[in-house]
């Protein structure tokens, strides 16, 4: 893996950057999107995740709402990383991400910037922050839509 991604300063920069300038953090009214509402009853995080899948390819992923550093940054990074991937590729990446968040061995190269969350498992009561966006995207890929 890129050795820069082992540097704590850089890992912190990645999270800060995606928290302060989250990517894809705006919902759209366009057609063809599915939207799911993700809220945790144990914390304040409350987000909507929106996605468009066509011909087995993730054309777009967006989100909006209220979240802490970890939930906002992780959803931002995942949305960037998974956009343009096939559903199969995305599922593989998401599986590796889940392994990392559970503190299991994972494929570092596949996860790119998301490796910034490799130590979240040491804060067990924050694991759900790093997975709220992930679970939202999983629901979109399953074809769920809370607007229907």
């Amino acid at each position: 893996m890129n050795s820069m991604l082992k540097d704590p300063g850089i890992l912190r920069e990645i999270i800060m950057d995606h928290y302060q300038y989250p990517r894809n953090k705006e919902l759209t009214e366009d057609k063809g999107y599915k939207k799911v509402h993700m809220a945790s009853d144990s914390c304040i995080d409350n987000i909507y995740v929106q996605g468009k899948v066509e011909d087995g390819i993730i054309k777009d992923l967006r989100f909006d709402g209220i979240g802490c550093t970890i939930s906002t940054a992780s959803t931002s990074i995942l949305s960037e990383m998974l956009k343009g991937k096939t559903v199969e590729e995305a599922k593989h990446i998401m599986q590796e991400y889940s392994r990392m968040i559970s503190g299991e061995p994972f494929d570092e190269d596949l996860l790119e910037e998301a490796v910034a969350f490799q130590n979240v498992y040491r804060q067990p009561n924050r694991v759900h922050c790093a997975t709220i966006g992930l679970h939202g995207i999983e629901r979109i890929l399953k074809g769920e839509n809370d607007d229907e």
Partner: protein, 412 residues
């Protein structure tokens, strides 16, 4: 410290004897969630397990008779603690259990279409959801007493919300988010003027100051043992005797009936036994009695005065920090609700935890309140009599370095 010094009681708490969290001495500021347990309570529970295990009120053994007497004696202790009669003390699983019993046994039975349940928007979920269900099933409606700008319930606002449709006024004696004390005696008088009953959710009140049911005219009171130095799993619904007599139990079964026959005819036992079907958490109830005795030995007036002095100290020091906003500077109890500028509440909570400070971020189960405060959530430090100024100083020092960068660093 100051005028009242309760620091001698710290030695009674094993959790305060050198315990660390994340490498720092533990500063326990999450007392609104649950309190620490003194040795006397722990020993009472252990004694039941090690020397007194038996069921109560149904054994022939001398041991059962002994423990049954202790178990019943807890009603007397609680009666003294809250100023009521022992038979007005119903054991429950906690405040939530008590509130559900009240909604189920009183609300479902006596409310109907056109009736109003009067409450506030700062209630804990446990004092709202059971009433929502009463409304759904009976056709009664909820009505919310307007809060002042600060977030307080006042007698004037209760009065202006009253009319002859209100059958129950139910609210927290102390809000678990803002820590304000409601003017309970005045509200009781207003409720009674209109023929309504007055129920107090005492979860955050009973542990912190003296309440006297008879003198204050409170009709129902719910509280949890674990928030007053006792074990979890136990609590109380106090009810005025004639109201308890009219009420239905939520559970039926062994211990609550005098007899029944094969045709389904049930004769219930007297108050309070008719509400206590099944084996109760015996060790929890014994421990709750020990906790109430312990608090009375210290003196509720002293606890209240000490807590107020300590919270005023903490608030004063917080207000010196440019990055901290306190939402309830004038509250009377140990609950201090705040945010750190630019730091999401949960990030602040985790950062403070990394510095050994246990407190809580979020909406504190009062999901309507964020609309009122206009923030998605807050951080809550809740103090009790065993906390100290030095611990407040530790929090202040940690707040000085509570930045987003430092909050993110705990994940790196």
């Amino acid at each position: 410290m100051g005028t009242v010094d309760l620091s001698v009681y710290r030695k009674d708490f094993p959790m305060l004897d050198g315990k660390t969290m994340n490498g720092h001495p533990l500063v326990y500021f999450d007392n609104a969630a649950t309190t620490l347990k003194p040795r006397k309570v722990i020993d009472t529970v252990l004694k039941y397990y090690e020397e007194e295990t038996t069921n109560v009120e149904r054994g022939d053994s001398a041991l059962s008779a002994l423990v049954s007497a202790k178990y019943e004696n807890v009603r007397k202790i609680i009666a003294k603690f809250i100023g009521c009669d022992p038979e007005e003390v119903v054991y429950t699983s906690g405040a939530t259990g008590a509130l559900n019993l009240l909604a189920e046994g009183y609300g479902m039975k006596f409310l109907s279409e056109g009736n109003v349940i009067l409450t506030t928007e700062e209630e804990h979920a446990s004092n709202l959801l059971p009433w929502f269900r009463v409304c759904e099933r009976t056709g009664a409606k909820m009505r919310y007493i307007p809060l002042t700008e600060e977030g307080r319930v006042t007698e004037e606002n209760v009065r202006s919300s009253m009319d002859e449709h209100v059958k129950i006024v139910t609210l927290a004696g102390v809000s678990n988010v803002l820590g304000y004390e409601a003017p309970l005696k005045g509200i009781a008088d207003i409720a009674h003027e209109y023929g309504a009953v007055f129920a107090v959710d005492g979860a955050q009140a009973v542990p912190h100051f003296e309440l006297n049911m008879k003198e204050m005219g409170i009709d129902f009171l719910s509280f949890s043992s674990h928030k007053m130095c006792g074990p979890s799993g136990a609590g109380v619904l106090y009810g005025r005797k004639e109201l308890l007599e009219k009420m239905d139990p939520a559970n039926l079964g062994g211990g609550s009936n005098a007899r029944f026959d094969r045709y389904g005819k049930i004769i219930l036992r007297e108050v309070p036994d008719k509400f206590e079907a099944g084996t109760q958490p015996i060790e929890g109830i014994l421990g709750m009695g020990a906790a109430a005795e312990y608090l009375m030995e210290i003196g509720m007036d002293k606890i209240h005065a000490y807590e107020k002095e300590l919270r005023d100290y903490l608030v004063k020091r917080m207000e010196e920090l440019p990055n901290v906003k306190v939402y309830n500077p004038d509250a009377e109890t140990g609950i201090v609700t705040f945010n750190v500028e630019g730091v999401f509440p949960q990030d602040a909570g985790s950062y403070l935890s990394s510095r050994g400070i246990a407190l809580r971020s979020g909406q504190h189960c009062a999901k309507i309140l964020p609309d009122f405060l206009k923030v998605p959530g807050t951080v809550r430090a809740s103090l009790y009599f065993y906390n100290t100024k030095e611990e407040c100083d530790t929090l202040i020092e940690a707040l000085k370095t509570c930045t987003v960068e430092n909050a993110v660093d705990i994940f790196i």
